[in-house]
């Protein structure tokens, strides 16, 4: 076979002989060096990862710049905002030990609450010129910045580790995840614009629905837990307790604690709890689609969900849930028309549920779950 190839080369000019020879060597290298093709593949994947990592770094810098600018606008000139911000972005939270899970929800709640309070205090101290509403939104902005920075660090870790150890399986797994990771990073970048300007985001649809529901109605409004308010009103002979995060600052409030307090003060009069929240849609599903179910529609750490389920079970109160489908990007970027349009449909559904499921004279708790950034209290 080898002679054949050389013979063909010999019949033609020197250049094609050379080309044939290079081909031959290349072919031989695949036979004599079994890892050769893998080597080529590895370097190809690493190059692809490097390109994406580079884009992630640009996204990370972009979000950091935006956060820094927003902070500088609200801080005194003698404060080293850049340094303080870096400290916040690098800070961490350690989840509680789960070896003995008894009481872990309350430990988690304690840690998360401490974290939130400390974070907000730090932001308020750095941005001393910002009002409390702005402080909440700026706190959200730092969280976005932290999220993007974590993604960048995570990808960089696996890229460098894979490169150093020449581990194709490691970088291959990373490469497979990259499309979704890039999409999330880009969503975070868009979210940083929204929070920097305090615009309502898709996740806030729950809060928006209840704000629209009570708008223009006679009611009593008070704070029930930190950043959590309740509107008390009468509708068709039933008492409605409508709970949401207090806007227009960016916060999700403490709906779990709020609902527990409401049930404790209302006693056995509460006959239904309805939670309204944005939920992740599956690929191919339509954004803004409204679906109904049972249970507690609420995301986050799980503390609020646990508390509501626990008290509802003890008091035998049915749990109804209404979910609005959104993608992860839609949930953290400015609200879209398709999602806003769902609000009126949900209000009709809630009114229908109240009339059908609960007798006159009873109390219903309706919780609009989600971030209240850019959604004022009516």
């Amino acid at each position: 076979m080898v002679f054949d190839i050389l013979q063909i080369g010999g019949q033609q000019d020197i250049l094609s002989t050379l080309v044939s020879l290079i081909w031959l060597l290349l072919l031989l290298s695949f036979f004599l060096y079994p890892g050769f093709s893998q080597r080529i593949q590895l370097s190809y994947i690493l190059r692809d990862l490097e390109r994406k990592l580079n884009k992630l770094r640009i996204i990370d810098d972009d979000v950091k710049d935006r956060t820094l600018k927003a902070f500088q606008e609200h801080s005194e000139p003698n404060i080293d905002v850049k340094n303080e911000l870096e400290r916040l972005v690098d800070s961490f939270i350690i989840s509680p030990e789960s070896m003995d899970p008894y009481g872990i929800v309350y430990k988690l709640e304690h840690i998360v609450n401490t974290w939130e309070d400390r974070f907000e205090e730090d932001v308020a101290r750095i941005c001393s010129k910002a009002d409390p509403v702005k402080v909440k939104t700026l706190t959200n902005l730092v969280e976005v910045s932290r999220g993007v920075h974590f993604i960048y660090r995570y990808v960089r870790h696996y890229y460098l580790l894979g490169k150093r150890t020449q581990n194709i399986y490691l970088v291959l797994q990373m490469q497979m995840l990259m499309p979704q990771i890039m999409e999330i990073a880009e969503a975070y970048r868009q979210a940083s614009y929204a929070f920097a300007q305090a615009q309502p985001i898709g996740d806030g649809i729950g809060a928006l629905v209840v704000a629209k529901l009570v708008h223009g109605l006679e009611k009593k409004t008070y704070e029930i837990a930190k950043d959590t308010i309740v509107h008390e009103l009468e509708l068709d002979g039933r008492k409605l307790l409508i709970l949401r995060a207090s806007g227009p600052g960016g916060t999700v409030g403490r709906p779990g604690e709020g609902i527990v307090k409401l049930i404790e003060s209302e006693g056995d009069r509460v006959k239904l709890i309805i939670t309204i929240d944005a939920g992740l849609k599956l690929e191919g599903e339509e954004s803004g689609k409204v679906v109904e179910g049972v249970g507690v529609a609420i995301g986050g750490t799980g503390v609020d969900k646990f508390k509501i389920e626990e008290i509802a079970k003890a008091k035998r109160i049915p749990l109804y849930a209404i979910v609005i489908y959104e993608s992860i990007t839609e949930a953290i970027t400015p609200m879209r028309e398709s999602i806003v349009k769902a609000a009126d449909k949900i209000i009709e559904k809630v009114k229908q549920l109240v009339n059908e499921k609960v007798e006159k004279g009873a109390t219903i708790i309706i919780a609009g779950i989600g971030n209240s950034v850019g959604i004022g209290v009516t």
């Binding site: 640009i58 868009q190 305090a198 806007g247 004022g376």
Partner: protein
């Protein structure tokens, strides 16, 4: 060989939708800093000239999304 600078997506500014207190006319304009849903603003109604409007929505319209895709 220099790595080319990757292109980042443009951010679409949402529109602020306002409703007039006296004639209920709805109109929209680009989002301005300080806007939030259910804020009462002193802006002139394009129809009746009243100066009290309520912000009833802040969102990205479908046509804005379509424009970007193009």
């Amino acid at each position: 060989m220099f790595p080319q600078k990757p292109q980042l997506n443009r951010f679409i500014q949402p529109l602020t939708h306002l409703t007039c207190f006296s004639c209920n006319t709805e109109n929209s304009r680009p989002f301005k800093d300080g806007d939030y849903v259910f804020k009462e603003v002193e802006e002139k109604c394009p129809k009746c000239g009243s100066t009290k409007m309520l912000i009833t929505g802040i969102y990205i319209e479908e046509r804005q999304l379509k424009e970007r895709e193009r």
